[in-house]
């Protein structure tokens, strides 16, 4: 029977336990970060999605099918 059960089930179940603990961890990190910011003039901010470099939109680039040889996927 066991082999018919997807090990992914355990990956779903463990999220209830880890989720409960990470709530405390995330809060503790936020607290320690704001505490550290009090003592540091400039604390190193974590990378945010906004730091990705925006690309040109597809309409601005080559027309479909142009220079597409040797492309994949």
């Amino acid at each position: 029977m066991a082999i018919y059960l997807d090990p992914g089930t355990g990956s779903l179940v463990i999220q209830f336990t880890i989720g409960a603990i990470t709530g405390l961890l995330v809060a503790a990190r936020l607290f320690s970060r704001s505490l550290a910011a009090l003592f540091r003039r400039k604390s190193k901010a974590p990378r945010t999605p906004e730091q990705h470099v925006p690309r040109k939109h597809i309409q601005d680039t080559a027309a479909p099918g142009e220079s597409l040889d040797e492309t994949r996927k």
Binding site: P7, L12, I21, V26, P49
Partner: protein
Amino acid sequence: MIHPASFRDPDGFVFQHDKSFYRQINHTGRADYDLAQACGLHSKLQAMGMLIDHREVVPWMSPDPSNVYKVILPQQLPFVSHPYEWSFTQLKDAALLTLDIQLTAMDHGMSLKDASAFNVQFWDGQPVLIDTLSFEQLKPSPWIAYQQYCEHFLVPLALAAIIDPSLIRMLQVHLDGIPVGVGSRLLKHKLWGSLSLSMHIHWHARSQVIAESYARPICAKQRELSIKTMKNLILDLRHATERLEKKHSNTTWGNYYHDNNYSSRAMECKLKIVEDYLSLVRPNHVWDLGANEGMFSRIAAKHANLVVSWDLDHQAVESNYLKIRGSRTNILPLVLDLTNPSPALGWSNRERASMLERGPVDLALGLALVHHLNITNHLSFEQIAAFFAQVCKHLIIEFVPGTDSQTSMMLSTRTCVSHECSLESFKSAFLRHFTLTQEDPIPDSVRTLYLFRRRE
């Protein structure tokens, strides 16, 4: 033709038509695709450069018209790399991109339904998600892609950071990600001090064992996990991933440019000759084989649309990537053992293309490389020339004779029949596959540069 790796998602697939790659959205994927478009998630991620651009086209070319809802034309990638060819920071950047996308998706009421490293590609020096159909409506339930994230990203990164960066190559064997159970056994007591990593790897693995030995299915999918808890889980995964740092290691090739036998004049002349050759050929795609930290890839990048900068040494590829990271460059550094290049993998050996299947390219660079293949790896000039003839139409290659101080050092511990390492033997082997376009001795050295063109 449907892409051979595109069979897992019932909501759509990638197909090729007339040299372009398209993505079909099936009727079953209609609701999620429309939601991602309507809530502004697609446009927001695309504006930030995190998701590949696309536009909808008339679906007349669909290979499965009975299921078609829409067909989109994504921005075409010039080259597809595989996660087992990435350096530590490339894999880490791809991991952080995946989590940042998940956090952005959650703000828009959506969630990633998979977290495959194969869904991320490097383009313009930064990672980008290429699977436009990866989103589903956010539900208060466990994150369905949690296991995949851990196995495709967290476990390989932890192994690379804590044990050795070359373990990223394990993804070549475990195409669906390194199982958390395997990661947990390899990392055993090495995760002390990181509660997050212990939970996501050790506890996670233990939970899988318990679930597998449980006599009946557990309906975890039906149990509710609040959105806030899921967000905390993602934030904790992000924290654990971001804290993983590769230990600096001194490798054979990691310091090559500071530790070689070129005089500054010889190096200057070599750069100039290579640049002249490149402006003569004006290639579109270039492969720099044995690129080290990519000094010559940067020269090639000025003359080509894409330069793939391959090297065996993980530290050299890492340094190369750190130099170009986020700089909108057309250089893609990748790890490759030329004597054992990436093979064709996956179902029917067709899911992941081999190194050779992704070529041939307009031009290849083989600088300060042949004597290593010839002396260290015992490959004859004939074998090396035949390989390059499969890889490229034009070839810039450097011959390093036995009288060179570095070659002499290599020969002192190895045997090589002198005529097999000679210039005559080198030229006659390459002239069987190529015609000679240019030949220039490098001043202030005993080395010679050649520009060859493949015989048709």
